[in-house]
């Protein structure tokens, strides 16, 4: 009895301490844990990826990757998608390794500093007269490593956004024109877990009937009822959606609808011409990138104006606040500073492979990485299940 009382007292004491610590922490950091607007995280990550695409300097790329990883570790929640960041790191390593291996096996053997010789294997003429292996030069491997690391860094930046941004909230933020498709994705995301329950139910029913089949017959016996169940469920869901007012549309005049269609059509034509102009240099330059982006933005404007027909209300919408602005601004600033560094000193951002040189950093690149890491402190702490307040520091 006394033991229990003592334990209770100890629990109460520790709770008081935790509360006090929480008070101290919140006094120093008056921010409640909350999920940041997912678009802010994506803008930040796209800024980092843009920065990574503008350099092959391995030091800068490694610092960008480390910075993104730090932000992820400090600011991710405990949702399943937040734990997938490791997969992107592995995928980045695979890309780098693949580039180096391809250069080793299929590389032509350019470069002066030959590391070692591998026996050459000429392939028959069917394979375009390709020669496998041969001399392996440092320049060749290093070129593959730089290129691969740039690609891996861009991928890891996107992986960071994937880990930090809540995809369900992102689906809520899509423009009205994509409302129907995003609703279908939301339905898919919420039905998928119910399928597991459905499989369990069908298997239990089979066992009650004494079905002991194994292998393919049992698979059919489970899979088809689950499919039929899912299809029936979709009809019930449709009835529920109808009764809650799905499909309510605003009256849009015919002229506006024609304008929408015309904008989208003209925009897509522009995209086709722009793509052609981008790839064919014999046409004038304005038919290339500028045309592509004019076409693309026309089509997007058409798409957005088409979304006016959709009427919907949002339950607890995500607000765009100071922290969101700061995080998105960090991404944009990182990209801008890296581009500035590239225009000031292009050689340091693209260190030459031959002659061999040691890559160097410039103050501007360091500044870019510092800006990229800032959201680790600027963003509000994530909403994790149970976590000690001290961890927010």
């Amino acid at each position: 009895m006394t033991d229990r009382v003592a334990t209770g007292q100890r629990v109460a004491e520790s709770e008081t301490q935790a509360w006090a610590a929480g008070r101290r922490a919140s006094a120093r950091y008056p921010r409640l844990p909350r999920g940041l607007h997912p678009v802010a995280w994506w803008l930040w990550a796209l800024g980092l990826a843009t920065a990574a695409s503008h350099t092959t300097n391995p030091l800068a790329l490694a610092m960008l990757i480390a910075g993104a990883a730090l932000v992820v570790v400090r600011r991710r929640g405990d949702a399943p998608w937040a734990l997938a960041f490791r997969m992107y790191l592995v995928l980045g390593a695979v890309i780098v390794a693949m580039r180096i291996v391809f250069r080793l096996v299929f590389g032509g053997g350019q470069g002066d500093h030959v590391l070692f010789q591998l026996p050459e294997i000429p392939l028959p003429a069917v394979a375009a007269g390709i020669r496998l292996f041969g001399p392996v030069a440092v320049e060749q491997l290093l070129g593959g490593f730089y290129d691969g690391l740039r690609l891996a860094a861009m991928l890891i930046c996107l992986g960071a956004a994937n880990a930090l941004a809540n995809p369900r909230r992102l689906l809520k933020a899509v423009p009205g024109a994509l409302y129907a498709v995003s609703t279908a994705v939301v339905v898919a995301l919420s039905v998928a877990p119910q399928l597991v329950e459905s499989v369990l139910r069908v298997r239990r029913a089979r066992r009650l009937r004494g079905a002991t089949g194994r292998g393919l017959r049992a698979l059919r016996g489970v899979a088809l009822p689950v499919l039929a169940d899912a299809l029936d469920r979709s009809l019930a869901l449709a009835a529920a959606m109808d009764s809650r007012g799905y499909g309510r549309t605003a009256a849009v005049p015919a002229g506006q609808r024609a304008l929408t269609g015309g904008l989208v059509l003209a925009g897509l034509l522009g995209v086709c011409v722009g793509t052609y102009g981008l790839l064919d240099v014999s046409v004038p330059g304005y038919l290339g990138l500028p045309m592509l982006f004019i076409g693309l933005s026309t089509a997007v404007v058409g798409m957005l104006s088409g979304g006016r027909q959709v009427r919907r209300s949002r339950y607890r919408p995500d607000r765009w606040r100071v922290a969101e602005l700061a995080v998105a601004g960090c991404g944009v600033a990182t990209a801008a500073v890296t581009m500035l560094a590239g225009s000031v000193d292009p050689v340091l951002l693209y260190p030459p492979v031959s002659p061999l040189t040691w890559p160097e950093l410039t103050p501007l690149m360091v500044l870019a990485v510092v800006v990229a890491v800032a959201p680790a402190w600027l963003a509000p702490p994530p909403n994790r299940g149970n976590i000690r307040p001290e961890a927010y520091r």
């Binding site: 375009a128 498709v181 339905v187 039905v191 998928a192 979709s234 959606m241 014999s282």
Partner: protein, 308 residues
């Protein structure tokens, strides 16, 4: 039976966007050799990575612009969920790909527009649930969407065994085509610019095609792509008839084609009976009320289904 009507304008937009999107896959064959062209080859893939998601969004918005019927939308979501749940079953085992057979069958039953949307939403949901979002996702979504679209465009009159044979053949071809498209997209990224397998800017299309054929044969055709084609065809042959029947039954019950009309309310009911007690003679036929439906076991099953 089409669950999603594709208006002529939507079809034109779909074709235009597909042409532009095909260029984002196949650009290495089209790059010229001039020095400016060489400079552009470094930026072209990055530009296309930005362009393709926007193109895809425009097409998806256009397909949904007529307002997707709630039954079609729920069907789309549920089938995408099944596809997304099927996908991890095959991942990890060399080349076993379980996404395509349901996509092909559903595209066949519900029509090309629905197949296109199902391909795109399936891969998107699967990416959110398990696989991860990355620059590859729009390309995968579009390739899978084309697979579903093609299944919906197969000749409609086939039924029975011939239908299964055609669908299995289409599934195998589509699986190879999907693999080729994904390789084509990844080709410039995976090997870099200056190995013997890389594309050569300005070379004749045939030479680049040859190099690509070697690349894709070396990396995936005999392992992954063949595995995917065989799995898809075998799955369609084994469970195709049953799944087709289930999907067609669902389509019939949903009655996508049924015209919705709002009938005018029936004329005012007969005046309430006078408070005087009714005459002892039993009413022979009360015409103001519909005749009661005799409840047979079949009606009871349809009416008292749990979950309706």
């Amino acid at each position: 039976m089409t669950a999603l009507r594709v208006a002529p304008r939507t079809a034109v937009i779909l074709v235009l966007a597909s042409v532009a999107a095909l260029a984002t896959f196949a650009w290495p064959f089209l790059v010229p050799a001039q020095p400016e062209g060489m400079a552009r080859t470094t930026e072209a893939p990055l530009v296309f990575i930005v362009v393709l998601p926007v193109l895809l969004a425009v097409v998806l918005a256009e397909l949904g612009s007529g307002g997707i019927d709630s039954k079609a939308l729920a069907m789309l979501g549920v089938l995408a969920a099944v596809n997304a749940a099927l996908r991890p079953l095959g991942a990890g085992t060399a080349g076993i790909e379980t996404v395509f057979f349901l996509l092909v069958l559903a595209g066949r039953v519900f029509g090309p527009g629905f197949g296109f949307l199902l391909g795109a939403t399936s891969l998107f949901a699967s990416a959110l649930l398990t696989a991860g979002v990355g620059p590859w996702l729009p390309f995968q979504m579009l390739a899978a969407a084309w697979v579903g679209l093609g299944a919906g465009l197969l000749p409609a009159r086939l039924r029975g065994r011939a239908e299964i044979v055609v669908l299995a053949g289409y599934g195998a071809v589509a699986a190879y085509a999907y693999g080729l498209l994904m390789n084509l997209w990844f080709w410039p990224f995976s090997v870099g610019a200056d190995t013997q397998l890389s594309y050569v800017a300005g070379a004749p299309v045939l030479e680049n095609l040859h190099r690509f054929a070697v690349f894709t044969a070396v990396t995936s055709t005999f392992g992954w792509d063949t595995g995917r084609a065989v799995t898809t065809a075998v799955a369609i042959v084994l469970v195709g008839p049953a799944v087709l029947a289930a999907l067609r039954r669902a389509a019939r019950r949903a009655a996508f084609d049924a015209p919705v009309t709002f009938a005018t309310p029936p004329p005012s009911p007969t005046p309430p009976p006078s408070p005087t007690p009714p005459s002892p003679t039993p009413p022979t036929a009360d015409l103001s009320r519909p005749a009661p439906i005799p409840i047979t076991p079949a009606v009871a099953r349809e009416t008292f289904r749990p979950g309706r």
